[in-house]
Structures are given as C-alpha cells and as structure tokens.
Symmetry: C2
Subunit: 230 residues, 2 copies
DNA sequence: CGTAGGTTTGACCGCCTTCAAACTTGGTGG
DNA sequence: CCACCAAGTTTGAAGGCGGTCAAACCTACG
C-alpha cells in the first residue's frame, strides 16, 4: 500500500472519521491488488473473506438464477462494496466482476470486525454506509415497480446529467447492453426506448446522449429524489 | 411501557445484546402507542422522528410515484422499521401504514443515536439489522428482475410454507390485492397465476393454499436461498 | 339478509421479449 | 493506414406476458 492510496482511502466516508490508530492498523494488513478486466472477484453464494474498496476502474454487481442473469449495480471509485455480507457473516447475494482493469484494496473481514468494535466512529460510519446501501436498493426496487422501461431510461439520463454538473451532453459510462440489464430491460428494448425518447427531448449518437429539451424529457421521467437519489 | 413489553423488546436481535443501562435508558423515554387499522404512520419524503418497533399487529411499507403505488414490504412483530432513515438523517423512501390495529413502540431518534455511540454492542446489532434490511431489498430486486410473476408467486407460497414448519396448507397472511402489489403484479394477474399453478401442484380455496405436489411447485419456483431467504 | 369490498373472469390491448438478420463500432494485424 | 474481424447495436416481425377495463361473482361483516 502506497502512501497516496492510503490518503485516498482516508477520504472515504467510511474511513474519514475513524481514529488514526484504527485506520493505520487496518492499513497495515490491507493490500492493494490490480485485477484485469472481466475477472470474477466474488461469486454469489460464497462467504466474505475481504471487504473490497475500489480505488480505480469499475466493478459490476450482478445476480444469477436459473440460467438468467441481471446487473444489480455498478460500483465506481472510490467506494466499498459487500460490507453487508461482511457484517452478517452470510453468503453474498450478488457476484462482482471487474468491467475494466481495476485496482482494489482488500481488507480482511476479521480485522474489519475488530476495528468496528474498537472504534465507535468507524462503527457509525459503517452504519451510514450500510444505510445508504439499503436505500440504494429500495430506490432500485421502487424504480422497477413504479416506472416502465422508457421512464426508467429517461430518469437515468437525467440523473447522469445531474451527476455531471447538469451538462447537456451525457456519455453513457457503460455499454448499452449492461445499462439495459441494470435498468431491467433487454438491449433491444433499450434501443427502442432510446429511439422513442428522441421524440421527447433527446438526440443520440453512439454513446453520446444530448439533452435538447430538458423539460420534455423530465415530463417522461418525472424525476424524484426518493427514487433517483439526491 | 409495561414490564412485559420491555421484555419482548429486549428479546429482539437489535436490543438483545446491548448493555442493560443503555437499554433501560432507552426504555425510560420510549412510549408504546396503539394505532387503529389503516393509519398512515409515516409518509415518504418526511424525516424520521422516531425509530418504530412493531409489537403487535402488522404494518405495510409502500411507495408512491406519479399516482402509482406499490407495496414494498410487510412488517410483522416483533421487529423494527425505518432504522435506515434514522441513521442517515435523510427523508423516508417509503410510507408506512397499519394493516390492522397495531401496537408500536416509539423511540426518539436523537436518543437512539446517543445510545448507538455509547454502546458498541448496540451499534453492532444495529449494523446487523441494517445489513439484513439491505439484503432483504437486494433479494426483492433479484426476485423482480429474475423471475416472472407466476414464478414469484410459486416461490412465495413455498417460502410461506417453510416459515410455517413446512406445513402443506398455507394461509395467506394478507389480502390477495396486497400480496399482488408486493409481488409486483396486479390482482387480476395474481388470480390468473394462482389458477395456472393449480396445474402445478397446488389447490386453492379462498385464502387457503394447499400444496399437493411440492416437487412440481418447486419446479416452477426453483427456490433459492439467495432470493427467497433462509 | 343486504351491502360493500375483495376476487375472479373475459376480452382486449400494449409493453416487452424473442429470434433473426442487418448494421455499427472498435480493436488488431497486415 | 487500411482491411478485417468480433462484438455490440439496431431493426423488423411475431408472440407472450402482464396490464386495463368492465362485469359477474364471492364473502365477510354489520
């Protein structure tokens, strides 16, 4: 672990407020590792050995059942994943796979648990992290149950724009195939929804989506912080 | 708060391991209240004042958007809800309504937060509670994205049976209308799925579902602890 | 016994999926 | 630098799952 990596981790909400000795203790035994693209980091059903922190690259969380497959979320730097499985000592509900070459810091679960007990600030931060994860999936479920697929796509585009300073041009951060799965639709259907939205305020060229008329797009998406996030 | 109510709360996973002074302190300021059926306890978008513990009755968690409405979960005694909103100091993502006359213990959020900081055992228990809530909604989303509606119903029936000691007769705990919404389908479609499953190992009379051929039903549901829970 | 509300049924329609084929796109090696 | 290939994307046609609407049917409760 290099010094600057430690500093980047230290800025994370999960680690920001914890006491310095606890943090340094964790960093002693942490190790950073670089994985190639398309590598299965975690398989659903297995047990947690390490808390994962993604420092660079991107990771896809997906789930399988009976031969079907869906993307549950995409994790970008710098953030942690599978904290819940670490806390519960129960099997992962999702698998994780790198989307590109990624650098990931691994913290042994046993040590994380000790640190949680020793440091109330760390414990509170972990609670907030878990609560946020919980809320993310409540939103995901609301999105699926309350909106149809075109509405979900419209809301996604608007949300991406908000994340990027309300820019009028959004570049999709992942392949459309993956985005479709994340939004709970087929690639074909995403393509058609994209075309449908071209009559409602957007223009599309490859991975670039231009928001020409934000109001018309918002009339389809009906953005809501209780679904789309703040 | 009566002594026996305190004892029931004390047995909850969230309160079981905390220190006695912290627990007693919380109980000092807690108060139990009985609400009639169909009362809106919490409205989505508002902020948390109290951590709720349901002692008797049942509560429905639902969400609304753009005039549409869906049930996100049903909470039975004895358990807590909306811990996440309490921890985050952010608005509720879901509303809560009593399904029947219910007794609920209310703990002021500020006091809960103090107790969390003071008592590491309580903090760890809260973390586990949050992690379980997180996992519940990951499962809910997986169920919605990976199974079709008949498969979800079949899995629900098998799960209810498992909860009741693998009894061959399951009595639906809520109106079919509500169950349909929880499973992400319309009442009409639930009715049709129920009929479809009668060719796959079940017999239905009003709210009573008899599992005649568990293997055939399981062939439709393909039960999976990573979706249906343990 | 009557009524209100929940449930079922039927008809119809639309969203979404599936399958197949044509078309882009991006990366690789000649 | 261009040609080529594999992989991703779009398009079309067809069909099924699930939603909507309306009416008939239960059933629970006063």
């Amino acid at each position: 672990m290099h010094q600057d990596e430690k500093l980047r981790l230290r800025r994370l909400p999960l680690f920001r407020e914890m006491m310095t000795p606890t943090f340094d203790g964790l960093m002693e035994i942490a190790y950073a590792q670089t994985f190639p693209a398309q590598l299965e980091l975690i398989r659903q059903g297995e047990y947690a050995d390490f808390l994962h922190v993604i420092v660079e690259g991107s990771v896809e969380l997906h789930a399988m059942w009976n031969g079907r497959n869906t993307i549950m979320g995409i994790v970008n730097p710098v953030s942690t994943f599978i904290l819940a499985a670490c806390v519960c000592e129960e099997p992962y509900l999702m698998s994780a796979r790198t989307l590109e070459r990624s650098q990931i810091v691994l913290l042994p679960v046993a040590d994380v648990r000790v640190a949680l007990r020793q440091d109330p600030d760390f414990a509170m931060a972990a609670m907030r992290e878990l609560a946020n994860g919980y809320r993310t999936f409540v939103r995901h479920a609301k999105n699926l149950k309350l909106r149809n697929s075109t509405e979900r796509l419209a809301a996604y585009i608007l949300h991406q724009s908000r994340q990027n300073d309300d820019m009028d041009t959004v570049t999709l951060p992942v392949e459309k195939r993956l985005l479709a799965s994340h939004l709970g639709m087929t690639p074909e259907n995403l393509s058609r929804s994209m075309k449908a939205l071209q009559g409602h305020g957007i223009a599309v060229r490859a991975m670039r989506v231009k928001i020409a008329d934000r109001a018309r797009l918002a009339a389809v998406a009906v953005p809501d912080p209780l679904i789309d996030g703040p």
